[in-house]
């Protein structure tokens, strides 16, 4: 039985796709995560409050989400509510990450698929007269607006430190906020131009390949509300394949609503909802949104709905949904930066106690849950429920759809290799996180 293996690039981490074919028929399509560090094992016995330093190291791309989820899990266990100013700064922190991540995924990971290049760092200047700017430089500026937000809100832009149990270690000075605002203001029109170009190039791609990928109706999971998404996450929500809210539960009830299973072919586990394929990440949130609550993002959302309907299922729309969120995050960051952030009321004292806590954050890739059990001040058990894990079955289903399109009894169309890359990148999986 011929086995096709496709090592993956332009995603976070080490993974490959394995497709087994027999007599021109696709037998199986696996998404195989090939790295493992074992964070659930290695945090056993560490002092609980050290988690806020250790767990961001699960992933340098998603470190902000892990940092905040760790703090929230500990606050849940200790019964602490941080002051409003701290919550404001945490929202800004998560928006900074969303800007950085969506800009990276859209323009560094998936733009080359639209332009037929290996990397945006290898696009010749003015390769395309419609190109709105030097792509790599424009992208760097948009990303920087996001990383700088993480820096002012979190102390450093990778593995931030400012969120601690009880709040934030410090506020944001007026000067820092003003500088960050100027950067975000400059990045917003740039991001819109890059996104418009991206939408146009996606339309051309669709004309060329004839599809936007697997569009089978699916369940969606996210932890944001339906207007003005707050990425601090409150409850998990499920949308059914018709776009109707069908379930809602707190993080601690995760285990009774979703089924998690390990596999023997990958270091990543996977989840399902009552046996059904689920999808997390940008398209889940956009399908859930009634409005974004900011003008430009709402304009994009309206056009998205008019063009693709509701709920939208085709997988390349994950990428477009990411662009809407990029615009939203920039606009929302401007709103927060316009308010006072330099107050001293960023933190309250607390009394540590043993017990159990859940932290929930809507990371760029979907709902992230941290669950800790604390005994004698030390971590005795930790679970990290990673957004990518919710998408594994959806990725494999979409891979199968792509494989069946390009594999026939007579031949294997080499477009398959590109298709495999596009499918996986649409879900923007994070392998360091998924395997941790």
């Amino acid at each position: 039985m011929p086995t096709l293996k496709f090592p993956l690039s332009r995603i976070e981490g080490h993974a490959q796709v394995v497709i087994e074919v027999q007599g021109g028929k696709v037998v199986s399509a696996y998404f195989q995560a090939t790295e493992f560090r074992g964070f659930e094992h290695l945090v056993k016995g560490v002092p609980a409050e050290d988690m806020v330093v250790i767990v961001p190291r699960i992933c340098g791309v998603c470190s902000t989400a892990h940092h905040v989820a760790a703090v929230e899990a500990l606050e849940d266990a200790y019964g602490v509510t941080p002051p409003p100013l701290a919550q404001n700064i945490r929202e800004l922190l998560l928006l900074g990450q969303l800007i950085q991540n969506q800009a990276t995924s859209l323009f560094i990971f998936t733009m080359p698929d639209r332009l037929g290049t290996e990397s945006i760092f290898q696009i010749p200047d003015q390769a395309d007269t419609a190109q709105p700017m030097h792509i790599a430089q424009g992208v760097a500026q948009v990303r920087k607006a996001g990383t700088n937000l993480i820096k002012v809100a979190g102390g450093q832009f990778i593995h931030p430190v400012k969120a601690v149990v009880g709040g934030m270690t410090s506020g944001i000075t007026k000067a820092e906020a003003d500088a960050a605002r100027a950067e975000v203001e400059a990045a917003l029109p740039l991001a819109c131009r890059l996104f418009d170009y991206y939408i146009e190039k996606t339309r051309e791609l669709k004309e060329r390949i004839g599809t936007l990928g697997d569009d089978a109706p699916a369940y969606y999971i996210a932890s944001v509300g339906d207007t003005k998404p707050d990425y601090s996450g409150d409850r998990l929500r499920m949308l059914d394949p018709h776009g109707v809210l069908c379930d809602e539960f707190p993080a601690r009830d995760f285990w009774s609503h979703l089924t998690y299973e390990e596999t023997d072919y990958s270091y990543s586990g996977r989840t399902n909802y009552k046996g059904n394929v689920i999808r997390a990440n940008s398209l889940a949130r956009i399908n859930m949104a009634k409005s974004m609550g900011t003008p430009y993002a709402d304009g994009y959302l309206k056009r998205f709905r008019e063009t693709f309907g509701h709920p939208a299922h085709a997988i390349l729309l994950f990428d477009i949904a990411r662009g809407i969120e990029l615009v939203y995050a920039l606009e929302r960051a401007l709103e927060i930066l316009s308010g006072p952030l330099d107050g001293e009321d960023t933190h309250i004292g607390f009394t540590p106690r043993d017990g159990e806590g859940y932290g929930l954050v809507e990371a760029p890739r979907g709902p992230l849950i941290h669950h800790y059990v604390i005994q004698n001040g030390l971590i005795s058990k930790a679970d990290f429920i990673i957004p990518t894990v919710h998408n594994v079955m959806a990725i494999e289903q979409a891979l199968r759809v792509a494989a069946e399109r390009y594999i026939t009894a007579e031949r294997i169309d080499m477009e398959l290799e590109h298709a495999v890359g596009r499918v996986v990148r649409a879900f923007d999986p994070c392998i360091a996180c998924a395997t941790h």
């Binding site: 290695l42 945090v43 056993k44």
Partner: protein, 282 residues
């Protein structure tokens, strides 16, 4: 243009994200391999090879040995590549037993008994410590010359005042309430180890109100002396600046698994490894 490539072993991609932020390299250097941002599956011959992540699996080891042959200079980037990093937390008997349970998975790379720094297996031209190293430091690493100048320790850069009148009685940590601006974190009862940590980062964490956890590793002076001397030097700082009982500081420093200090001590502890020369440390 000078060419460089990046080999990612088992790590978090934080080092690569930091490299991407150092936007200037696109004008000076040609990146030929980094699967995170380029579709390429093999490392070509290059002048500088940056290696991030630790050696966790047999596949890591295979890639490491194969790749260094293609490079004129090899830079060990980040704590994982230099000392095994956060994964060294798993270098304990009880955790190792848990790892063996993972070995039943088929078709994935086998796990090695522990996570190794890369210089266990290959020669390294320069070390670029930090978790992750700052974007500016990447530019130094790419230049191929270790001519970076900065103050010796993180403590010299944080700008917080060591007010004489304040002498904390205990290691209260964040439970006590807000962090005071402008006052030394040790003076507020935090276990900050900026006094023994190599500078170059310009102290972003203590500036933001979070004690230094030492991710850049030991300062030049302490690098060659070993763990006992480091712990002593930190103890002395606390004796000078605080009234916290020595036993309490000592217990904090040696807290379970040394988890907060794993960046400084993890791989230096109890191994026969030759000292890494400070001339090679950026």
């Amino acid at each position: 243009m000078k060419t460089f490539a990046v080999l990612q072993l088992s790590g978090c991609a934080g080092c690569e994200m930091s490299l991407l932020e150092a936007g200037d390299w696109t004008k000076k250097y040609e990146l030929t391999h980094l699967p995170l941002v380029i579709s390429s599956h093999d490392i070509p011959d290059v002048e500088v090879l940056l290696i991030s992540g630790g050696v966790r699996t047999d596949e890591d080891l295979f890639k490491l040995r194969r790749s260094v042959k293609k490079a004129q200079q090899v830079v060990a980037v980040g704590t994982c590549a230099i000392s095994g990093g956060v994964a060294s937390l798993g270098d304990r008997e009880e955790v190792r037993a848990l790892f063996t349970a993972e070995e039943s998975r088929r078709e994935v790379p086998r796990l090695l008994p522990k996570c190794h720094p890369i210089d266990t297996f290959v020669n390294v031209t320069f070390y670029l410590p930090g978790c992750p190293p700052t974007p500016e430091l990447f530019m130094v690493a790419l230049s191929g010359k270790n001519d970076f100048k900065s103050s010796k320790i993180v403590c010299a850069e944080c700008g917080r005042k060591k007010v004489k009148e304040i002498r904390p009685q205990s290691l209260a940590g964040f439970s006590q309430g807000s962090v005071l601006t402008d006052i030394c974190l040790i003076k507020q009862g935090f276990l900050c180890i900026g006094s023994s940590t190599r500078n170059g980062c310009l102290a972003p964490c203590p500036r933001a109100g979070f004690p230094c956890v030492g991710c850049r590793g030991p300062s030049d002076i302490l690098m060659e002396k070993g763990k006992a001397a480091w712990l002593q030097s930190i103890q002395r700082i606390f004796e000078t600046l605080t009234d916290i009982p020595a036993e309490e500081v000592n217990a904090g420093l040696r807290s379970p698994q040394l988890s907060l200090f794993l960046f400084q001590f993890s791989d230096y502890d109890g191994t026969a490894r030759p000292v890494r020369p400070k001339e090679k440390m950026i």
